[in-house]
Subunit: 420 residues, 4 copies
């Protein structure tokens, strides 16, 4: 908030609204200003906004240097200008971190997709083994929505992290004809983009919230799969081991999916938080009662949830232990039933169902049961997992290409400084 007020004073002076010496004083006080935050919080409840007691306290500090300069503190701005812009200035670096973490998760998934294009595992639908697929394809399926979503997230951030400056009514009325000029200078000082007043237009924050919840959910999707695959009865992957990781306070033998837990935890909270922002799109008139005032709470909780989820999964995927042996064993334990679709298409649904029923009844591999029903080479091909991958390879390529494009152009918010 002090950064905003300092930069505003510098902009006002640069636009010729008052002498630069006043701006100098204000900027200097802002740089080293200290506040009694408990008192501010108490006063903020009475005032209905933190901005009023903050500006008052800052003005007093400036006045102790120069009474004349104090007149130009907060000049032409309104409470919401400083609150919204301060929220943006806090949000911007947080979004940069979320972006970087999402890239890390995506890169780790991409590595797995590249490394395991031929590693046979089984696809599971409705928690039941379905058909053989490459583990790398599974990783590519984790990656695909990141490739789609990251550009949306960044666009949402770039539109949300913009300057708020409207003044009392939103028209920059205090600056007369120089309003756009002051806004441009202030934006430059804070290294933000200028924008038309958005006091009562909260679409960009709502969108940011949803995109952040989506990234959190995508991290949770990976966590869901990894934690299910870590069940000892399945045991196909494991989170990286390490001191202090995934133990239990009561059971010495446990190896818990503690990284996955963090992502899943965050994803249970994110939708409700995002829905709060979606329900705050219709403030009354030019400044609403109760919508924007709470958004920084929600934005902060969302940003922290996303960071936590993505950091945890970056960690998990980067050190993921892939147990190809267990994958093979589980496939074998299925007694060939995961080839039932292939058999069904090759013969017919009825014949396949009969053979499958026989295999289940006799507890014999479907391969054996079906041996006579096809020519030998067809039979071999049909029950060869590697030949059952369909378009998996092409999809992996496509997703890796999409990712290579979408990961470019990371967010970057340099820290501005008031030009005097």
């Amino acid at each position: 908030m002090a950064r905003f007020e300092g930069a505003l004073a510098a902009a006002g002076a640069a636009a010729g609204l008052f002498p630069g010496s006043h701006a100098d004083t204000i900027v200097q006080v802002c740089t080293r200003a200290a506040f009694d935050t408990k008192q501010l919080a108490r006063d903020a409840r009475l005032a209905g906004t933190l901005a009023i007691p903050f500006v008052k306290a800052l003005t007093a500090q400036v006045a102790s240097v120069s009474v004349e300069s104090a007149r130009f503190v907060h000049f032409g701005a309104t409470s919401q200008d400083v609150m919204d812009t301060a929220a943006v200035l806090c949000l911007a670096p947080a979004t940069q971190r979320i972006d970087a973490l999402a890239v890390e998760v995506g890169e780790a998934a991409a590595s797995l997709a590249r490394a395991h294009g031929k590693t046979t595992t089984v696809a599971r639908t409705l928690l039941q083994p379905a058909a053989p697929v490459p583990f790398g394809w599974k990783a590519a399926m984790w990656l695909a929505p990141f490739a789609r979503s990251l550009p949306h997230f960044r666009r949402a951030v770039r539109e949300a992290c913009v300057l708020q400056l409207g003044g009392a009514a939103g028209t920059l009325s205090a600056f007369g004809a120089r309003g756009q000029n002051v806004a441009a200078l202030l934006a430059e000082n804070l290294a933000l983009t200028p924008a038309p007043t958005w006091h009562s237009a909260r679409d960009a924050f709502a969108r940011f919230g949803s995109e952040t919840a989506i990234l959190t959910g995508l991290a949770a999707k990976i966590a869901r799969d990894v934690s299910l695959l870590m069940q000892p009865e399945i045991g196909e992957v494991a989170e990286p081991a390490g001191v202090g990781r995934g133990g239990s306070s009561s059971m010495p033998h446990k190896r818990n999916p503690s990284g996955c837990l963090l992502a899943l935890e965050a994803a249970t909270r994110a939708p409700g938080l995002a829905s709060a922002l979606l329900s705050e799109l219709a403030p009354e008139h030019e400044r609403g009662l109760g919508q924007w005032q709470s958004q920084w709470f929600t934005l902060r909780a969302l940003a922290m949830a996303a960071s936590s989820a993505l950091a945890a999964m970056a960690d998990v995927l980067q050190g993921l232990q892939v147990n190809t042996e267990a994958m093979r064993a589980n496939l074998q334990r299925s007694n060939g039933l995961v080839f039932s679709e292939a058999l069904s298409l090759r013969l017919s649904r009825e014949v396949a169902e009969r053979l499958v029923a026989q295999a289940v009844r006799e507890e014999r591999p479907l391969q054996e049961v079906a041996r006579g029903a096809l020519a030998e080479d067809e039979w071999q091909a049909l029950f060869d997992a590697q030949q059952a991958f369909g378009s998996a390879g092409a999809m992996i390529e496509r997703v890796l290409d999409d990712w290579a494009t979408s990961r470019e152009n990371a967010l970057s918010f340099p820290r501005g400084s008031p030009r005097l």
Copy 2:
């Protein structure tokens, strides 16, 4: 968390699981234990729970007094036991405050209902003046849902704020046949009710969340009406005035509904928070991945939202300025149109519509236009607001009676202490 561990040690010793001297040591260490919270937070991320590094740190502190005693720290409990019970111990006093604030709001509304049983104002439907009602009836309508909801809130709290103690699997297996006994002793030490393990049964927290969101919404309902009535164009009520209250950082003339703002702000966040708890009812097996782990975040945010909203509205209603003069003037400005229902029922919809149309067209009071259409005494009675109150008085009585009953039996959570 240290309170839990101390009380657990005392209970374990009292149940005869280990010598009382160990419990003494543990209780004493718990009382004065200090933790490096930053380090705990870092370790908690790796461990997937705060409980593990916490117990480890506490054990180390006990061990520095007595290695032997350290063996009995956290004896028979699991991470979730200490986390959930600690959440409950934090929540309980917060709910007491919410309860007390809700009673304050209700009492203030009840006072208004009693004081303004004859004060004529206009009911507004779809933001349009509808028909005359006593302002006290309006206050009773604010009160009625509090009278209904407070007992639900309290029941929800009493079922949510109970002991969690299940041990590794939830069966209190570590205590053999003495499990129920240890649980009862621990509950007594912490002044909580014992309960069957609820590691994976989160219904009570979900219900608590919803009831808290409802109280928050009811505060917002009052805030909605007060803020609308405070519009200067209407001006029928005003928030209490005072230094630092409801000003503007840019406009010296403003008198903002800053208390209402706080209640409305809280109510925009509460439904999303409550929905998070409602979405966490189906954890996996005996301890889920990601549901309970985040609930204290959400519970805390909800409890703070409710407190903020209720405290603000208690304040607003206790000092509410009721401008009966403005109420009368607004009624008059309606040119008698608010009596159109009465006229319609007395004559007929068609005749009434004709007279209303005439009154609107000629910009004359409906009274005048309708004068010939009824006998003089009927005409007088029909356009007398005080005679148009229908069952308002009886409803006020009924609601005040309901409230008198429902406000009894406030929540009370004494602070327990380990009995040694």
Copy 3:
């Protein structure tokens, strides 16, 4: 809606507001009235409510019998009276069905709890095997939140399914001193409880929504566990088999958890729907803009979600196939590691960790590795699952008792009829 208008006319006449012959006519027309629903829907959009075109169409039908009687159609009521009461009349039988289904689910869980008090399975925490528990205890843990929640649900329903009758402003002004009398008669005619006007007090619907979402979530909790236990790699339970159940359109071998799917599906939608009702608690003044108008959409979706989830799980639990053999096998596969807590408490965390590490390293059962560390009888007892159940039996008893109490007093909404 026609039921409301018929019953209202009967009540009005019985209270002496107009001759009984008019009520007769209106009731008869209401009984056989037919409407052009498409036209009503179109008109409703313009009018902002279905009630206005509905009342107009009904009045026309009454007028075609008796112009005089038509004057008393909808006499003294307002749009919201008929809309809200009609919603309640639709909701009431739906809640009866939800209640009955919840009892079915509870009963089925209770049967499992009783039948499997000695069936050893393994508790799983964070999707990892933790310690042995009776399967009946697991079922009791499913049941416990039903035992807690059903009384809350019923209370919520009984407070939500009440008469709405307030008239234009909510004060029953049209009925003069006879308002309470008309309301009582109308309530009797519709077999509903009378209540103070709740046009702008939507707490009871919000609470109903949350309690319905909770029951849905509790069904989903069971579905979560059953579907995880049905994974072929675990295979401890299975949904009942049958023609048309749980197949796949592409894979003949699959046995899908299709009942669980329905419960989980419903539970993903319920929290958002409930949050909509929680966000509609602050309508403007005496009749709000946009809150109550949409609640029947949401209530209907919620009631259907709950019915679907509970019906599915009643079905699943009633025919649940419990594979005790698989439970035993899975326990054995754990190589005794699920006894690590017991070992840790009996010896010490450090010793236990050493033995566990040895067992894991040497791929030998923990039993074997730990043999020398304890006296023979202690050793036998420690590794006997049946002796590791702690308070499981007592908890099962407690939960069954709670359930026996809570299932009493089912909801019952007889269909009223206008008394002429």
Copy 4:
């Protein structure tokens, strides 16, 4: 769903998987197929998906023409392929309508922005008059978020409305090397874009839900303002009048904001619906339990909410009655207090506060009270609303420019047809 199966058969044959004559038969049966929807619904509950009984019924109908052709019904597809693609085929035209309605709302707001660039009204912050602004600027502020959001909505739709075709495991395994080819042909037949399998990647639907909720909220923002301005005590605008519009079933005089009501109604439901989609991002493995199965419910409810809200506000804005006389009168009633910010900046906060207090105390216009404090020409300029518009004009221009760009490139989904 029949469209999908017909187009799939045509694609399969075109890719050379089976003879074209079978595809011919299937396409023809699909075109005229009729289903017992009640029976399908019953069977769908057992099966856990509508697709299985649907495919069975369709296969039977094809078999009655040619048993041989029946083998190729649904060839290589899985239940989710047909369900998801059918949802997309229903959604696409709905999104086109939402897009067109959003453009209508935007155009109407743009017209108001252009027409009222000089019409003086008062900005209201926290429901209190703040400072004079042009009404056209207010309309531009309604428009700005539409200009920002429409491109996001369209991008979200274009990514959500794509083909789903993955087969049993998601790898198109049934088609061997021809998978991508079949997918491309099928996409062409249905006039959809092909995409990598998204069985378990629901980000695009989640994003669509959020963007739809945002458009709904933006319509509600306009509705909020219009309904507040329609309060008779303010009376600055009115919804268009007309037969059957905005009446009351009990009060003949009322003119309700019934269009605004529809938009506000929709906006109370949309956030909860959107949050359901945001909570369904982490399905288990390659096909989840309970997430995608319910999304068409939610998508349909959201699309209908958005259409309803936008259609209502297009109507309202196109016929909006703007009462410039009332705007002027309300400004005058404020006794010049809305110029307090200007005065404060020109003189100083302290002096301005003193003058404002004096004006309030003496109930005199601030103009008069402040007369001596400034030079005459400054005084005149300061209290001239038209000179207090700051950058309002420039902002209007900027927003109109943005809108002109963003409204281009409307959504368009031609209806495809299977190429045989």
